[in-house]
Amino acid sequence: MRSRPGVSLVESLMALVITGLLLGVVAGTLEHQNGLVRVQAQRAAFADAVRMTDVVLQGELRWADPAQDVQAVEPESLQVRAVRALGVVCGWQGTATLVRMRGIRRPDPDKDSVLLVPGPAVLPLRGATEAPGACKHAPDEAVYRLALDEPAPRGALLVFERGSYHLAAHAFRYRRGQAGRQPLTEEVLARGRFTPAFEAGAREALATHTESRVNAAGLPGELRVVFANAVATPDTAGGP
């Protein structure tokens, strides 16, 4: 009697077991790879947050006067004078001060104050209107008529808003005045900390150093921002 072609039950079971094992290995590999990609993506988001924090704070604090502009440093918050425009006094109209100005936004009496340079006088900004042609100015400057409590003397002035940066609720955030804390990064920080290490009386530019640490699982962890005086500039100590 000829045997008919086909598979026996044992063979079928063996095939099923092998297939199952193979699928298990495949699923495991895929899961592992997927986990790696997820960790990599989280690390990338964390690195982006670190870079963003560094760039924003460098832009805000690099040329700040630590004694005047960094007003309070807490582990999770940093209160600063956030400069938004630089102006040079170019004349007066009655009690208003004419200023030729460059900046990242228009001066806004609802938000801004004015710091006179040489200072350290700070005046609230009562009003600001454009005054084209009121002073000679460069093509990339605009002339504004500023209403201050008193006319500003010859010199420069900085238009600034009071704001605070926060390392809280898993993100780097900015808060202007009493408004809410707006996130500037994704919410990927386990925790953050500001550490001042600058000499308040020094006049070097400020360097912010942002350190990041991942946790034992290799996932995003702590962000630590250290402020320090930048490398000393050429010695001109003892000047007037």
Partner: protein, 372 residues
């Protein structure tokens, strides 16, 4: 079936690997941009400091409110520096740094740097009399003279004395100065034929501080060693020194040619002596600052301000034309004559004071690329 599973597996793994590669590449690009940004900013700051270090104009010819281009040096070839004169003593350097990429893109960044210049008017206040001292001992033949302070010194051309000096003197002191300023009138001892001329001859200034606590204009005493053009020790016989028709600037015994017309006539260095000094004849001009005692003898002549922390001894027909300030002073058979012209010339021409200084307080200012 197995082949299908294998292909699917390979596809899945490849997609995951490609995803990770893409993330890594994006991170690498972001890190590279961050590094270039930092380098860009440092280059710009270096250009600002270069312009600051190269500053060589004591009194900008530009009036307050004017803007002019400044030499940006070689640190950053793509940097331009404009100066805004804000006040008589403060100027804002505004650096614009442009970087172009091979792809034709350009990035622009700006920063401002405040610099302080020293004006002769500020220095005039440090010398309120022909002789300012804690105590003065005037022997035979001593003459302290503050009459006609605006006149040119004997032998000097009137055209070499700018009207601005006399105008500043007039504005600050009403054109009249005391011969000697001391803490109280009893601090002056006079013998024999000594004379003090001025209005008044002796002025009591109870609050007079010792030279080491005083300032040379806006510059504190402690800063003078750092900025001095010459450092001298021991005994010096100064005279104008020339090499191949040029003034030998930097030689410790070359103190310029007072009242002369040669190449050293406008050389008036800030001279610092860290441990006392003897000027044994000769002639010179500039700003002489001595830690300790200074002695002028053998007919030595000095034109400009003399600032000594210890005793000022002027003997043997020696002559100071300008003004002197010291801890104590002993003058015998010698003259100290107030003349604003050599003071003004020294303060205007001293290389050490032609530089820019850091102002007090804030000196970096953020600047922006467009109108708000």
């Amino acid at each position: 079936m197995a082949l299908l599973i294998t292909v699917m597996l390979l596809l899945a793994l490849s997609s995951l690997a490609a995803g990770m590669l893409w993330i890594a590449a994006a991170q690498n690009a972001a890190a590279s941009i961050t590094a270039r940004h930092a380098r860009f900013r440092l280059d710009m700051e270096a250009a600002a400091l270069d312009a600051f270090a190269r500053w060589q104009t004591p009194r900008p010819r530009h009036p307050v409110g004017e803007t002019w281009a400044v030499d940006a040096g070689t640190t950053a070839e793509s940097a331009t520096v404009l100066a805004d004169r804000l006040t008589p003593t403060l100027t804002l350097l505004r650096v614009t740094h442009i970087r172009r990429t091979p792809e034709g893109l350009a990035a622009v960044m700006r920063v401002g740097l405040l610099v302080r210049t020293v004006q002769p008017e500020e220095l005039l206040e440090s010398f309120p009399a022909a002789l300012t001292a804690g105590a003065a001992n005037l022997g035979d033949g001593a003459l302290i003279d503050a009459t006609d302070p605006a006149l040119a010194p004997d032998g000097w051309y009137t055209v070499d004395c700018p009207d601005a000096g006399a105008a500043a003197l007039d504005s600050l002191y009403g054109g009249q100065l005391p011969g000697a300023a001391v803490p109280d009138s009893a601090s002056v001892r006079r013998d024999g034929s000594s004379r003090i001329r001025g209005w008044p001859p002796v002025l009591a200034r109870p609050g007079l501080v010792p030279p080491e606590q005083a300032r040379l204009g806006p510059i504190p005493w402690a800063a003078i060693p750092d900025i001095a053009d010459l450092t001298v020790r021991g005994t010096v016989h100064p005279a104008a020194r020339e090499v191949e028709g040029r003034c030998a600037v930097g030689r410790p015994d070359n103190w310029g040619a007072p009242g002369g017309v040669g190449p050293c006539s406008r050389y008036a260095p800030v001279i610092y002596a860290p441990s006392g000094l003897v000027v044994s004849g000769g002639a010179g001009q500039g700003i002489l600052v001595v830690r300790g005692d200074v002695k002028f003898e053998n007919g030595a002549r000095f034109y400009g301000p003399v600032f000594a922390s210890g005793e000022l001894l002027v003997n043997d027909s020696a002559r100071i034309v300008g003004a002197a300030r010291a801890g104590t002073a002993t003058i015998r058979n010698a003259t100290i004559q107030y003349r604003v012209c050599p003071l003004w010339r020294a303060w205007s021409d001293a290389p050490a004071l032609r530089r820019a200084f850091r102002p007090q307080g804030r000196w970096w200012l953020p600047d922006y690329v467009r109108a708000p």
